[in-house]
């Protein structure tokens, strides 16, 4: 996989031509460049903290890492315009995207620890949560389903003439689902302002991409939907930003959907329990050594973009203290209370009635008081 920093169309023949050589990242201010670093570092460090908590059995359920994919998540989300109300739908490895979009470490920690004051009040796992205000939407586990949903979100932007764009992520594995296909096709026909990013990290759980599709590249799938397809180095945060920004601009101009394939690599297992026995020896180490997105960006920042070691160290420190503070708060958070489980299934009724044998309320049995024995009762 390419380690070069330039991005471009997978194949010149992939869909309609686009202006593929602009580098919007050249316009980023120094502060913004450092902010990219901040989010990448925050993603990595927060996950490392989660690993600690996981080992202390304070995390409920599995732990999913995006180690090595931070550039992909952060660079793409950063291309959205939060002031305009752009919207994204993250996946399990898009912690970085959510942070960019405004999710807080405290929220993430509370979610993973199933706390009562977590964003879902303990109802859903890990980073499965959203916020319409900040513009991200909670995924469900069923892969591919968020594509039709984001087609609808962006359809509403179009219908209302709003100047907003949506971004939806899918893994290489999720491209095989019917929902992905139906959703992207629907959005393409409707020319919804939507960017679809395929995060090609080499694996779906244990399944290598060669068993997921016979296509030469995921960007090639764009042609099937009559939309532009691009491909970029997912471990180069500026290349990711560039390719996504171009697609976002295109969407904002009313030119419809773009499919982007980001080439990256999942250095950890599917979840923390997965020992990656199926990975060829040396592959992980090679990516770690030669293609770590943070290492690479640090080098670019220092060598080409005039950042100083001091600036980066200060960010590292800030990240650490933010995580420490959030951890302390999160650990002190209360667990949810059982009966809260009955609230909010519906808007109306707002609460489900408790089961009669739980709350000692008027039970089915105690209501049996037919007055007139077995005769007919008119009442």
């Amino acid at each position: 996989m390419a380690a070069s920093r330039t991005s471009g169309r997978a194949r010149p023949r992939g869909g309609r031509l686009t202006a593929g050589d602009e580098r919007p990242s050249a316009q980023l201010t120094h502060a913004q460049r450092l902010e990219l670093y901040y989010y990448m570092r925050l993603t990595r460090s927060l996950e490392e903290r989660l690993v600690n908590l996981y080992r202390q059995t304070k995390v409920v359920g599995g732990l999913f890492r995006s180690l090595g994919q931070e550039a992909d998540a952060v660079g793409s989300a950063y291309a959205l315009d939060r002031t305009k109300g752009d919207f994204l739908s993250p996946l399990i490895r898009n912690l970085g995207s959510m942070l960019v979009q405004g999710a807080k470490p405290l929220e993430i920690l509370r979610q993973y620890m199933a706390k009562g004051d977590s964003p879902t009040r303990g109802r859903e796992l890990n980073i499965h949560f959203g916020d319409l205000e900040r513009g991200f939407i909670g995924q469900i586990s069923h892969l591919g389903d968020m594509v039709p949903v984001m087609a609808g979100v962006t359809l509403s932007f179009k219908m209302r003439g709003e100047d907003r764009v949506g971004l939806v992520y899918v893994g290489d594995g999720a491209t095989s689902t019917g929902a992905f296909h139906e959703g992207i096709n629907f959005a393409a026909v409707q020319r919804c302002p939507l960017v679809v990013i395929v995060e090609n990290n080499g694996y779906a759980y244990s399944t290598p991409t060669s068993k997921q599709t016979a296509a030469a590249s995921f960007a090639d799938k764009a042609l099937a939907y009559g939309i532009p397809g691009e491909r970029a180095d997912g471990n180069d945060v500026l290349a990711v930003y560039d390719v996504t920004k171009r697609a976002v601009d295109r969407a904002r101009r009313g030119e419809g959907v773009t499919l982007i394939e980001l080439l990256t690599y999942r250095r950890k297992g599917h979840a923390e329990h997965d020992n990656q026995s199926y990975v060829p020896p040396g592959e992980i180490e090679r990516w770690e050594r030669t293609n770590d997105p943070l290492d690479r960006y640090v080098k670019v920042l220092l060598d080409e973009l005039g950042a100083t070691r001091g600036e980066l160290a200060a960010i590292d420190e800030r990240v650490q203290s933010e995580i420490d503070a959030a951890t302390e708060l999160a650990e002190a958070s209360p667990a949810p209370e059982g009966p809260d489980a009955l609230r909010g299934v519906y808007a109306d009724p707002p609460t489900m009635a408790p089961l009669w044998y739980r709350e000692g309320i008027g039970s089915a049995v105690s209501q049996h008081e037919r007055p007139a024995g077995w005769g007919t009762y008119h009442g």
Binding site: T120, R123, E124, H128, F129, G130, L132, I137, G138, I140, S141, H142, D145, V147, P148, V149, M150, A151, G152, V153, T154, L155, S156, F157, M159, G178, A179, E182, G183, N185, F186, V189, Q190, G344, V345, Y346, A347, D348, P349, M352, A364, Q367, H368, E369, R370, W374, T376, Y377, H378, G379
Partner: protein, 325 residues
Amino acid sequence: MAETTYLEAIRQALFEEMERDPNVFILGEDIGVYGGAFKVTEGLLAKFGEQRVIDTPISEAAIVGAAAGAAHMGMRPVCEMQFIDFISCAYDMLTNYVATARYRAFLPCPIVVRGPSGGYVRGGPFHSQNPEAAFLHTPGLKIVYPATASDAKGLLKAAIRDDDPVLYFEHKYLYRRIKEELPEGDHVVPIGKARLAREGRDLSIITYAATVWKALEAAEQLEKEDGLSVEVLDLRSLLPMDDEAIIATAKKTNRVMIVHEDTRTGGVAGEVTARLNEHAFEWLDAPILRVTAADVPLPYAPPLEDYVLPQTSDIVTVARRLAAY
């Protein structure tokens, strides 16, 4: 005033709600220029334009998923399944995404999914289904299935205004076969309330959709031939179910039968039986009996379809046994 068919009542509801609320839009296959396979949406494109009457690719999961996404953003989408049989292709989207959106993520998801349902029309196994039981089991969804033109209109208007996702099943056998004068004005029928279709003292038939009419037919015959006074309760809403109404009729007549067109095992009748058993056990002077389709895919040839589906004569037979018990 003129009488309005069940089908026309549905169109009226769509029309009035689209006029009332600019957030209401409709999407589905062939609903625009063509006006829908049964012409339910005829004229809506001309009136409301392509933005609000969207012809989609053949993608039920995308139709429902896109509706959900738009609903999160404040829209009020109404999805048409060309035949309700194809709702099975959106089963994941409905049961996992739509039904749980509010609960797990506090997302509003006020969508309506509607489509021509039911048999008695020689449609064969894939154009005659009654999918209500498959969804009855999904907290987060509401389900309505009107039997009259008035309810068809009023329940659709309620469904569109409801803040929860509603499956609205419409019976294609009734589309043009029944009509009535509709109430004037903004006619909304609350979701969750059954309708007493006929009062009686001797036994109760609890049913919904097309078999309401068969039950009424049977009731009349039983009155004439046997002097029996039969109550018919039209559930209308299956989820939530009107417990009060089913309990009241059971306590009143002490003899209950449940009639539905859907197959027997795992059908709605089981749930009704369980609830009555829990809440009115001592009032029951006889077992609750079911009249349903046989447990087979619905075949196409008229003698086969007639054999499988519940008929008025079945209701009469069972009612007589029940009355004599």
